[in-house]
Symmetry: C3
Subunit: 117 residues, 3 copies
């Protein structure tokens, strides 16, 4: 029976959980959301890079991703521009992108990923 490793854990959630050979990173949002979707996406992906590092891996190990956009019609292209530049060539995860209202009005994008440990 393998074990669970939790990183950056509080009473509500862990930012990272390693289990069953996978690394789960929960939905991340911009730390400084006073920005357009490109800047928020860049902040989110920088957070994810850091959490992958904390888990001992990097973005070449991405398996799947979910992206939520507060306004998909307006912001799909901008998010994708930053996303496409961030993904290492040949290492793209599966992805689903849908519109959803997020936990605070100023948040434009939230991204969760699963990676291989």
């Amino acid at each position: 029976m393998s074990d669970i490793v939790r990183l950056h854990t509080n009473q509500r959630m862990s930012r990272v959980v390693k289990a069953a050979g996978l690394v789960f990173i929960g939905g991340q949002t911009a730390g400084d959301p006073v920005a357009d979707v490109k800047m928020q996406t860049a902040q989110v992906l920088e957070k994810i890079d850091g959490f992958l590092r904390d888990a001992g891996i990097d973005k070449t190990r991405l398996v799947s991703a979910q992206v939520w956009l507060a306004n998909i019609e307006r912001d799909f292209a901008g998010m994708n521009e930053v996303w496409d530049a961030w993904v290492p060539q040949g290492c793209a995860p599966t992805r689903a992108t849908v519109e959803a209202k997020l936990a605070a009005a100023q948040l434009l994008v939230e991204i969760a990923v699963v990676a291989l440990a």
Copy 2:
């Protein structure tokens, strides 16, 4: 090649599937949705406790969770109050919470989780 164990299965979905060392529990909603978000959240988490038990584990094995709220602005705090009290100390899963209209108008919250077998 490991195998799949399905519990509470009908033609549309299984409530629980065990595979690859993980336990997947699909999106659960309140059985008696005539209630506010706190009571609905409590009902959902009680369902999840039961399904974890059926899978031979408990909530200390939570890996990741997704929460959908029909009205995130109004109900985020109420859901979190019940959620935070339910999560065992030091065992919080990763989480993503977004707003989404659910399958019936009276449903205020839906939660899906992945746990370690």
Copy 3:
């Protein structure tokens, strides 16, 4: 350390990723969305059948699914009719279905699945 197999990969996403004994298929939408939700659902599930085949498995190995509908009140029953007929008896995955605006206005349904390799 097991490895990652990516299929149908471009700079943005892979359609299929195999890792940790699981097969992840990202959010799929209808190739010809000039259709009602039943025809779009059938197109999506045909795509998923093909991707499962590419991964060396089939729909009897489904573990979990997420369904997004652009209009859940109108289209939940129609999607379910096609879904229920597609799922092999006794092999239903866990599932969560919520409403979400999708990446293009004509898209009515998007489905992502995880299966066992």
